[in-house]
Symmetry: C2
Subunit: 258 residues, 2 copies
DNA sequence: GCAACGCTTTGATCTGTATCAAGGCGTTGA
DNA sequence: TCAACGCCTTGATACAGATCAAAGCGTTGC
């Protein structure tokens, strides 16, 4: 079929972009050697980009597909009865979105673009069908899913019972790690979310966020100009995420000063 | 084979206990109608009971199997560098333990019995092998896993950014739901964990826990005698978990008085 | 160019919960 | 029966971070 051929070509084109994606373990090692390569690629759909504020799916909506972020960023959020929105996750390029709907059949949360964002859509039913045909794909699927799910859970645990300072440090390090895993700079990046969204996610008041950024900068750990962040002293940051006991700030100037 | 026959008999015996287990979706609907019923049952091993404090697996240990709690209860915990233990989950009868190791190959946390506890062990490799043979089992597996994982995650989100009062209420309701789902009373149960373990899990000081229990009793929401708990007013409890805005306590006596 | 708006920052105050410090009470062992 | 221990409770105090209030400042639209 001409269609299949077209897809095969397309596959080669996107392979580069896919290499740092969470799905790459699914797409590449398994699919590469098999004639099923087209089958897997066939079900992955590229959609037209979302703009800031666009909703990918809404809480309560039917679960049809999972998504991989290609560029840009999304937030997952749930809205409580009293109308307050609570951000439950940020999704950066290469990460999967919508996994929390697998067991329910409907989306428990709403996914919304933080900036202009392009995504891959993987219809879940077709993926499952495929997994039954391609040996090994099933295992990969389970591992990838549980990895994505648990890395989020780890984050939650890491944030629980931490001071405001530690939470922000943990988040910055997490973002750094996630950017660098996708081949971007680990020390210099642009926050895709506003201060307000950050504070919402971390469970802090926006005012506290603001004060923290200032304090972090005073301590020489970061340089922050709006959303542009430079991690000047990742070690210093990392140090204070450990043992809630470690005394922090207090002193003036950067930790590395003599 | 005699062994197979013995297992078939055993299967019938345990089926009752299994009916309320998280694995029942795996064991029963799928396996019941298939000749593979023995195959699935064969790989599930009953182990001798754990006593309070016994460790099921230790953080860092190799991942071989997942477990289902039959009776009793477990806690999952991680120990930070400074030696502080942090409880990350409680596992009640019918729930699965060890899922967080799937993606890593090693256990990220330690599982420890809160009281005398009996469990089923399901070697994961064999389960995966089986899933490749039995159509549908793979899907069930994925759904069950993601359900178990996400219900924990929901709990974490529910606890984040809540007052101490709300956290305890949320936990009590969660326990109530989980007990009742397994056929036990939703309003009268025995806490398997100590106040200290509770406070650790909820991220509160033990003293705060104590004060909360008193306040809850004063408000007529619960009656607590040691670990024996009676939910006198589940609605009252549920009400205060919602919208952090709702004013709580303050007044004297139970909410339903007038 | 200016006004209006939203986001961020800064300052002052208030409060929930931790922490410190004892005291009660049930349980274990001699 | 009594002492010793651990767990839980109770009270007093301290502090991190929320909340209230208002002022900068960059953006958007006219």
């Amino acid at each position: 079929m001409a269609e299949k051929k077209a897809n095969a070509v397309q596959l080669r084109q996107i392979r580069e972009a896919c290499r740092t994606c969470s799905l790459s373990d699914l797409c590449l090692p398994v699919a590469l050697e098999s004639p099923d390569v087209d089958a897997l690629d066939n079900i992955v759909q590229r959609r037209r980009p979302l703009s800031r504020g666009d909703v990918l799916y809404r809480a309560g909506g039917r679960f049809n597909a999972i998504y991989a972020v290609r560029t840009g960023a999304l937030k997952s959020m749930s809205v409580s009865e009293d109308g307050e929105e609570q951000i439950t996750a940020f999704h950066l390029p290469g990460e999967l979105v919508g996994l929390d709907a697998i067991s329910f059949g409907t989306h428990p949360s709403t996914a919304c673009a933080l900036e202009t964002t392009s995504i891959c859509e993987i219809p879940f039913g077709e993926l499952e069908d495929l997994a039954e045909e391609i040996p090994g794909l099933q295992r990969q699927l389970l591992r990838i899913m549980s990895k994505e799910i648990f890395s989020e859970q780890e984050m939650l645990h890491a944030l629980a019972r931490r001071t405001a300072e530690q939470r922000l440090a943990i988040l910055l390090i997490s973002l750094s790690d996630r950017f660098s895993r996708r081949g971007l700079s680990a020390t210099r990046f642009r926050l895709p979310m506003s201060r307000h969204e950050l504070s919402n996610y971390l469970g802090l008041a926006p005012e506290t966020m603001s004060r923290l950024f200032r304090r972090f900068a005073e301590n020489g750990w970061i340089t922050a100009a709006g959303k542009e962040i430079v991690l000047e002293d990742p070690q210093g940051l990392r140090a204070m995420t450990n043992g809630g006991s470690a005394p922090v700030h207090r002193g003036i100037g950067r930790a590395s000063d003599a």
